[in-house]
């Protein structure tokens, strides 16, 4: 974006803030590491980074990054970030959160941030469980999995976040696994560079309450990490993205990589164009005189 490059590339040390409070082995550590990698690589200056989050273990993220940050209420990080992004196009707005935060309590906002194509990057650390509140069923928990709120096993059909994102109109949708740092780096980089609403769903294991949840996607645990074949695909096709999304249900873990990447005017650009138009129309008239003109019309 338009910000000047910093005099020096930020070091990892400069990017670190409070020591993460996550449990040992929590997948969220990798997300933080990968985020640092990309911010360094893209040379985004400190003061232009805003980390936004809701509530949950994963939502503690902003404290661990030395940048402007705002730790908000449960499920509402996206509308808050939308407000920042629309009013401050000079900033890089990042949103971090869990599956409960983003897909359950904040589910409605996800749909609307996507359809508005707000210019921001959203990372969902999906662990298929509620971590912070200690092991309740989440909207992505598979049927049959036992939790404190489903002692006989989950009975509600899990949502398919990828399918939902495609249907909502997100313009960049990617999926990765926290054990695959290089891949995660690439997904984050492309998400940041994408103009518009970019979501990266990361399968991030909760080592405390749901260990092994994503072994199926980890080759070191005997799983498969199969990539989307971008060459043979139409990356702008929602139909093809939807087919990929459905595979994650019928053939878990499905594929990893970019499911959809298309260009659509961002909410930021559309609002800005209107503002620019109006400013051009009023010319040199000061704001105060504009109001005076308005009063004249009310006489």
């Amino acid at each position: 974006m338009s910000s000047p490059a910093p005099a020096e590339k930020l070091t990892k040390k400069q990017l670190k803030a409070d020591k993460p409070t996550w449990c040992p082995g929590c997948g969220d550590f990798s997300v933080l590491a990968s985020f640092f990698n990309i911010v360094q690589k893209l040379e985004i200056p400190h003061e232009k980074i805003v980390c936004v989050s809701g509530i949950g273990c994963s939502s503690r993220f902003p404290y661990f990054v030395n940048s402007h940050g705002i730790h908000f209420i449960h499920g509402r990080a996206l509308p808050l970030a939308t407000g920042i992004s629309l009013s401050r196009p000079d900033l890089h707005v990042f949103v971090f959160g869990g599956d409960g935060d983003g897909y359950s309590i904040g589910g409605n906002h996800l749909t609307h941030a996507a359809r508005k194509n707000v210019n921001l990057s959203y990372v969902v650390m999906d662990n298929q469980v509620y971590g912070l509140t200690k092991n309740q069923t989440s909207p992505t928990t598979p049927i049959g999995r036992k939790s404190k709120t489903d002692p006989r096993g989950a009975i509600d059909r899990p949502i398919n976040p990828m399918a939902q994102l495609v249907a909502s109109g997100a313009t960049f949708i990617a999926r990765t696994h926290t054990t695959q740092i290089k891949h995660m780096d690439e997904m984050f980089e492309r998400a940041i560079l994408h103009p518009g609403f970019a979501v990266v769903e990361t399968l991030s294991e909760c080592s405390m309450f749901y260990p092994g949840a994503f072994d199926a996607g980890n080759p070191r645990k005997g799983g498969r990490f199969e990539l989307v074949d971008e060459q043979s695909r139409n990356m702008e096709s929602t139909a093809e993205a939807m087919t990929l999304a459905e595979e994650t249900e019928t053939d878990f873990p499905g594929k990893f990589g970019v499911y959809l990447e298309c260009k659509r005017p961002t909410k930021n650009d559309l609002e800005r164009a209107w503002i620019d138009d109006e400013r051009a129309r009023v010319g040199d008239t000061s704001d105060r005189d504009l109001m005076r003109e308005r009063f004249d019309a009310m006489r």
Partner: protein, 591 residues
């Protein structure tokens, strides 16, 4: 005052209350609005009142205009003239006429009844006269403008100015529309009415100042712009919606934007995001929407984010009375959040005051880094008043984005000081950046559940408001400074309370009335004033509650422990009438 027709000289009137009763699709609202606009462009005072059917496609509706050459404080207890478009408008509203009043009805539609109250009945064929003047295709269109012409003639209002207002309104439409409107107006103006004499309105006293006319929601929206708001977000709900509609189209001219959200939760969160990013943002709603915003409001209080929240109250609870007035969200505004979440609550008392209240809300929100709620209500929101144009040289706040560099000593949440925000984009020499949070935090913004810290931070958030309470202007006051009874009002009860005060003083009682703009915190030192009266009466449009007190009365009792404070409550979805207030006060004074 409303009924002063009888005492006026036979040929000039100081006041007139005209009630138009018909269906909303007949454009009775616009007749009322034209009359109000005319008053604004001359030196007259005006206040209007209307009912809107809660259904979309038409329905019975009234528009009442109170015109006056002196101060007009309320829309009028009783009408001097009723204009009835249909049989049911006639049947339902004849009672609203004072004894000896005039009823003009559409003789094509209305069958008049015998009335013993000395009412002058005048039948005029609105429908057929308009059709004849405009040609057969006109159907029902133009009846309203015909009536407007007739009223202009009867009250000898400024015909030229009125024609100019009509021309301005219809000028943008096709030529035919404007021509028809002018024909309808002229036909009405020339309609021969033999049974009454013309009653010229005395001209108002011109003070040489520019005057405008508008409704409360419009003035509130303009006040927000003048106060420096350039960004905001909301979800539609009656009667708040017209503010968001106006801001949506106005903000871009001023370099900002107003976003329509998926719900009120998103709206308040988006506005908090805008404010956090360095702009003072606004969100707004009506009662049910404010309820949804409460979790985020608590956050704004905890994270000390400046924010303006408008609540245009309507009848509640739940979906309640969407198009009627009530003042029952006071407790929600002050306390509606979990935890101790202090915020500021202000209430405008009139249309004009909506503008100034909005500017002050912006100033307080910024200075004290806190959410400020403006409690307007349906009555002020929708009625039209004429008043002196606000002086923008005095009431304009320049908008600026502070991105100054923060040094190593920077504490975003200093205990001893007002919070100092550091919007994103602000560099920091130490390389330490703040995280704004809803978790309890120390002075640097780190989460901290330390017991002493929580107590100190909780006290800090409270102390800010106490500091504000010492700098607040005195509530407006009228009447006797000591004596029999003090009225204490808030919001749109201002006009009727002030007039009731005068009416009681005219009867020989010693009465004062105080109107509280700053509902939370209350200004320090109010109690001294209360002590000077035998009785204190708090009229409010909410229920008397489980303990027998209305919402403001409850707060005043809690704060002042004064047993003389009594409640007078009304929950009919209608504002107070002057006589109701006078009667209640006399009942108390007789004891």
């Amino acid at each position: 005052m409303a009924n002063s027709t009888a005492s006026a000289t036979p040929d000039t009137l100081k006041n007139a209350v005209i009630r138009l009763a018909g269906y909303s699709q007949d454009g009775i609202q616009s007749v009322g609005a034209f009359l109000a606009q005319l008053a604004g462009s001359t030196a007259s005072e005006v206040m209007t009142y209307m009912t809107i059917p809660a259904t979309i496609s038409g329905g019975a509706s009234i528009f009442q205009v109170h015109l006056g050459s002196g101060e007009v404080l309320h829309p009028g207890d009783q009408a001097d003239m009723l204009v009835a478009f249909y049989q049911d408008s006639y049947d339902n509203h004849l009672d609203s006429l004072r004894t000896g009043g005039i009823c003009i009805y559409d003789s094509d539609q209305v069958e008049k009844v015998l009335d013993e109250r000395g009412i002058t009945h005048i039948g005029v064929p609105f429908t057929s006269a308009t059709i004849e003047a405009l040609g057969g295709s006109a159907k029902n269109r133009g009846k309203n403008i015909f009536v407007l012409g007739m009223l202009c003639a009867i009250y000898e209002l400024d015909r030229e100015k009125m024609s100019a207002i009509i021309a301005k309104k219809f000028g943008g439409k096709s030529e035919g529309v404007l021509r028809n409107a002018m024909i309808a107006f002229d036909t009405g103006y020339a309609w021969p009415i033999q049974s009454i004499q013309h009653m010229p309105m005395a001209p108002g006293e011109s003070k040489g100042k520019k005057r405008i006319s508008a409704d409360g929601n419009t003035m509130l929206a303009l006040g927000l712009i003048a106060g420096g708001c350039r960004y905001g977000a909301a979800y539609p709900i009656t009667p708040w919606t017209s503010i968001m509609e106006l801001l949506r189209s106005e903000f871009p001219k001023y370099g900002g934007s107003f976003i329509q959200c998926e719900d009120e939760l998103a709206a308040v969160c988006m506005a908090i995001g805008m404010s956090y990013a360095g702009h003072l943002a606004v969100t707004g709603s009506s009662g049910p929407g404010l309820a949804l915003k409460s979790e985020a409001l608590g956050y704004a209080s905890m994270a000390e984010i400046p924010l303006v929240v408008v609540n245009v109250q309507r009848g509640g609870p739940s979906t309640g009375l969407p198009t009627s007035v009530e003042q029952s969200d006071l407790m929600q505004a002050i306390y509606g959040s979990h935890g101790d979440a202090p915020r500021v609550v202000l209430a405008p008392r009139s249309v004009k005051d909506c503008f100034y209240t909005a500017v002050r809300a912006c100033q307080i929100a910024k200075e004290y880094s806190t959410p400020v709620i403006i409690l307007s209500d349906q009555a002020i929101a929708t009625r039209i008043e004429a008043f002196t144009e606000p002086d923008l040289d005095k009431w304009w706040v320049d908008y600026e984005l502070d991105q100054s560099e923060k040094g190593p000593e920077f504490k975003p949440y200093p205990l001893e000081k007002m919070t100092r925000h550091s919007p994103p984009g602000s560099p920091s020499t130490e390389g330490k950046y703040p995280v704004v949070t809803g978790l309890e935090h120390d002075e640097w913004g780190h989460p901290s559940g330390n017991p002493k810290n929580h107590a100190a931070m909780t006290a800090k958030r409270r102390e800010k408001l106490i500091k504000l309470s010492h700098s607040l202007p005195a509530p407006s006051f009228h009447g006797d400074y000591e004596g029999d009874l003090l009225f204490v009002g808030w919001g749109s009860t201002y006009g009727p309370v002030k007039e009731a005060t005068q009416a009681l003083r005219d009867k020989g009682y010693k009465i004062g009335c105080m109107h509280i703009h700053n509902l939370h915190p209350l200004r320090a030192g109010l109690g001294d004033i209360f002590g000077r009266y035998r009785h204190v009466l708090v009229p409010e449009m909410n229920d008397s509650g489980v303990y027998g007190y209305g919402q403001l009365a409850t707060l005043l009792r809690a704060k002042l422990c004064d047993p003389r404070i009594q409640s007078f409550n009304k929950t009919e979805g209608l504002g107070f009438r002057v006589v109701e207030l006078v009667d209640e006060a006399e009942k108390i004074l007789a004891v």
